[in-house]
Symmetry: C2
Subunit: 125 residues, 2 copies
Amino acid sequence: MIELNFNKGNGLVPVITQDYTTGEILMLAYMNQEAFDATLASGKATYYSRSRQKLWVKGETSGNVQLVKEIRVDCDNDTVLFKVEQIGGAACHTGHRSCFYKKIENGSIRVIGDPLFDPEEVYSK
Amino acid sequence: MIELNFNKGNGLVPVITQDYTTGEILMLAYMNQEAFDATLASGKATYYSRSRQKLWVKGETSGNVQLVKEIRVDCDNDTVLFKVEQIGGAACHTGHRSCFYKKIENGSIRVIGDPLFDPEEVYSK
């Protein structure tokens, strides 16, 4: 039985989502117990949206779902790591493959890579 | 100028720490503005310890400091990614290389890999 520690995060734990083949970090999101159970049951990464305050099956709008290949838990059970197959190639709502497309260089931000899709096209459907 | 969004996390943002050569995720910790500034100034990963409620230069006790090779920020500026060189090989206070040494398999936890050091020896010095 897996007992995550949701106390430190007011009922939520952060989840790091990593490409299971390349090791690239795609995004960070949050889960409550219900989202964790839904992920285990469905095999699709399911988070808790802090802004919308509800369960969020990643890719439910864009089609870019995440098939969970492996789940890791950290030493003190308060952070989760999903290793996933990112359907559609892009995890970020901006169309970028990874949400971490901004690199700090000499005190400024440099954007790394180009978006793989046009968010206005995908999310206005 | 980099403006991180500390509002959603009560003054803190989560930081994912990844090995800059292998892509392995080593740990997740938290930073406030002061920890971020200290990291930029020193080049050593500096976090904010939620339990001790103070700045925490990673490795200050164990000697396993993290030399920050690259910093990424996510799409909405509320999560940071450090790509680091992990001095001493192990990031976790348990002696494991990564804090994410527990894998979920068929509803149970399986420990992956062996500790690289004995925590009792390192932290009782």
